[in-house]
């Protein structure tokens, strides 16, 4: 704390800081050696494969939407590194509260592609995850998932479980009260919570600059008395390192971390959006140069961990997994109308019986008609 003179009176300065880093550049070169905690190359390869799968699935999902076989779908194009690093970093027993661009993290957690298709295909069955039963489903009302994750972190703390909750959101979400209320609580209660912001520069048509005048989003952590970190969100290693550090901190009871991962949304906001209406094509072209998959691929190629042959095989495998999942999704029968009542309350309240019966009858009618 230094004392400087401003205007006409003496003012003491209180200083605060956040840190920023990256490890991998666009050519696949590291700025320094990988720290041990993230140097596992098998893991890096797995991450790479997942990112490729994610991008291929994304393309397929958009195609399905265009042909009326899927509902509105939010592309993850260009943002694969963040979510993949999350999936790699998280322990099975951690609790994950995703937002709607967490395809690869969810996939690594065990959510099947079929489940994701069901979800975006308009069926609640898509959130009945068979393999990560405690994770939260995708959250649509922006930023509201943050306090759920805080609640999960409290639950871990109260129960004396040394795990963490991790939650994601977009840059737009950081303007909403829930984000800041949660951040504040995370500090006040020193919660085992990791908050990762996918700063893809846009909230639908609203650019990052309209959301906030601060230089970084990570500096919002300062107001909550917690650590804030900015990482290059297209740098898989940097994101992974940041998350792993934050998780270790959380496990050991040292509190929460806000991680801003800076990336770029290379697609439209969703299939319902047309980014050409508001985005400068030059900006997009520029952003493609920094995209994360090519960058990690360059690294793997350079270290002889990857080659064209493997790439070809991967693409085939990925295509067949995706196609199988799509088929399974398309084959899944639509739920009956009575399903509206079956998960509403723990058991169906008496005064809903007549409506429930009506819905059942509706199903019966439809089936009769099909005969």
């Amino acid at each position: 704390m230094t004392t400087v003179t401003s205007n006409s009176i003496n003012k003491e300065q209180l200083n605060f800081s956040i840190s920023r880093y990256s490890l991998l550049n666009n050519k696949g070169e590291l700025s320094e050696e990988l720290p041990e905690s993230i140097a596992d190359m098998k893991q890096a390869l797995h991450a790479y494969k997942t990112m490729v799968l994610g991008r291929a699935f994304d393309k397929k999902a958009i195609a399905l939407q265009r042909t009326g076989k899927l509902g509105t779908y939010p592309s993850i194009l260009g943002q694969e590194a963040i979510s993949t690093a999350i999936g790699v970093a998280l322990d099975e027993k951690d609790i994950f509260a995703p937002y709607y661009r967490d395809l690869t993290a969810q996939y690594l957690r065990g959510v099947s592609l079929k489940e994701m298709l069901l979800y975006w295909g308009g069926s609640e069955q898509g959130s009945n995850y068979q393999n990560c039963k405690k994770d939260f489903p995708v959250c649509i009302p922006i930023a509201t998932q943050l306090s759920h994750a805080a609640g999960a972190a409290i639950s871990l703390k109260v129960q004396g479980i040394h795990q963490a909750a991790l939650v994601t959101c977009g840059d737009g979400a950081t303007s909403k009260g829930d984000f800041l209320e949660t951040l504040n609580l995370a500090g006040a209660w020193q919660l085992p919570l990791v908050m990762v912001v996918n700063n893809n520069q846009w909230a639908i048509s609203t650019p990052r600059s309209v959301q906030c005048a601060a230089q970084t989003i990570a500096q919002k952590a300062i107001g909550a008395g917690i650590e804030g970190v900015v990482v290059d969100g297209n740098d898989y290693f940097a994101v992974l390192f940041a998350i792993k550090e934050a998780l270790v901190k959380a496990y050991s009871g040292k509190g929460a971390t806000l991680i801003e991962a800076v990336t770029y949304r290379l697609g439209d906001h969703t299939t319902a959006d047309d980014a050409d209406r508001y985005r400068d094509p030059k900006e997009l072209k520029q952003a493609w140069k920094n995209e994360p998959i090519k960058r990690l691929q360059n690294y793997l190629l350079k270290h002889n961990l990857w080659n064209e042959d493997k790439e070809r095989k991967l693409i085939e495998l990925v295509a067949s997994e995706i196609n199988e999942s799509v088929q399974a999704y398309l084959d899944e029968p639509k739920q009956g109308p009575e399903s509206m009542f079956e998960f509403l309350y723990e058991s169906i309240p008496e005064n809903l019986y007549d409506q429930y019966a009506e819905a059942k009858y509706q199903r019966f009618q439809t089936e009769i008609d099909k005969m």
């Binding site: 308009g122 069926s123 009302p141 303007s175 609203t206 209406r277 739920q335 409506q355 819905a359």
Partner: protein
């Protein structure tokens, strides 16, 4: 406006909303438009398309992503000389704005004994049927209708959308203006861009009839009118009323109609329990009881969560359901009661 400048256009409902916003921006220099993506993008449904180019950054504002804030600054602007028209992107996201709407927008005039007021409009697309993700298909007009001090308005045609939006903007009361997105682009009709508003205290009789009063609003007017046509072919002559101003509502016209027909059926998309239909049914019972030939029935969304889109048609009341219910109600005899009197 000189009559020579008045244009008649064939428009969809969403286009007529856009037209009304344009017209009102010209008529009211103190009017501003704000919300998420309302500027360059023209709103996700294009309701505000072109406004930014025409009226500039200062009158068409893209806000940060924060519904409570949008409502709060709208109150602040309205109290201090502007006439803000805010968009909530989807009605499913209006909940964060509830505190500002219920505790301030609705109350500022009353709280200050008229010193300050809130001439403001909150527009939001509402209702199901467009194959959207979760939270994009809600109909929660009853929540706002229960808050004294707010006005709730829902148009059901391009012409009424134009006239009612103008009156909502001109009103010095806060208005929640809900737009039935399912029929945003369903049909076109001739809208005269004459800047004339429609009254905020009248419902619209869309079809006269003598056997049964059907009360509905928003997108369900479509199914209700279709049902009325089918019912006519079954010799049940329905009077169809578009409630339009959901709260405060035009009780008199409805009661008058039911006194004539002796029967009433209310059709809405929202869940039945404590929906607006309950209020109308209760009023009918209170004010037209001696004239009732059959119990008032309600055809509503189920008392469940609006399902994801694979099942949304299972939730929404169908033409068939309206027809069946009306036929059953029409057939029901009052005689059973006599024994007990």
């Amino acid at each position: 406006m000189s009559e020579s400048h008045v244009k008649t256009l064939e428009l969809t409902l969403i286009e007529s909303i856009n037209l009304a916003l344009n017209r009102a921006m010209i008529l009211h220099p103190e009017m501003v438009v704000l919300g998420e993506d309302v500027g360059v993008n023209g709103g996700v449904f294009r309701a505000t398309e072109g406004l930014r180019d025409k009226f500039g950054l200062k009158r068409v504002m893209d806000t940060p992503l924060a519904e409570a804030l949008i409502a709060g600054i709208t109150v602040g602007m309205a109290a201090q000389g502007l006439r803000p028209v805010a968009e909530i992107q989807f009605m499913g996201f209006i909940f964060a704005a509830m505190e500002q709407l219920a505790t301030h927008a609705a109350r500022l005039r009353n709280r200050t004994r008229g010193r300050l007021s809130c001439p403001m409009v909150i527009r939001a697309p509402y209702g199901g049927g467009i194959h959207a993700p979760e939270h994009h298909s809600e109909s929660t007009e009853a929540l706002f209708a229960h808050i004294p001090g707010l006005r709730v308005v829902i148009p059901s045609s391009p012409v009424r959308a134009y006239g009612l939006l103008l009156s909502a903007i001109e009103s010095n009361d806060p208005v929640i203006f809900l737009e039935p997105k399912r029929i945003y682009r369903l049909t076109k009709s001739n809208v005269i861009d004459n800047g004339k508003s429609l009254p905020l205290d009248s419902c619209f009789i869309l079809r006269e009839g003598k056997d049964m009063t059907l009360v509905s609003w928003g997108a369900m007017i479509t199914e209700t009118m279709q049902a009325a046509k089918i019912l006519a072919s079954k010799d049940i002559d329905c009077e169809v009323i578009d409630l339009a101003t959901i709260s405060p509502f035009d009780r008199e016209t409805i009661v008058h109609s039911v006194k004539k027909t002796g029967r009433c059926c209310i059709i809405h998309e929202a869940s039945r329990n404590c929906g607006v239909g309950a209020e109308i049914a209760a009023c009918v019972s209170e004010f037209a009881f001696p004239y009732l030939k059959a119990p008032t029935s309600r055809i509503c969304g189920y008392d469940t969560i609006m399902p994801y889109f694979q099942n949304e048609q299972d939730y929404l009341p169908s033409v068939e359901k309206i027809v069946d219910t009306v036929v059953a109600s029409y057939a029901s005899k009052k005689e059973a009661a006599y024994a007990n009197i």
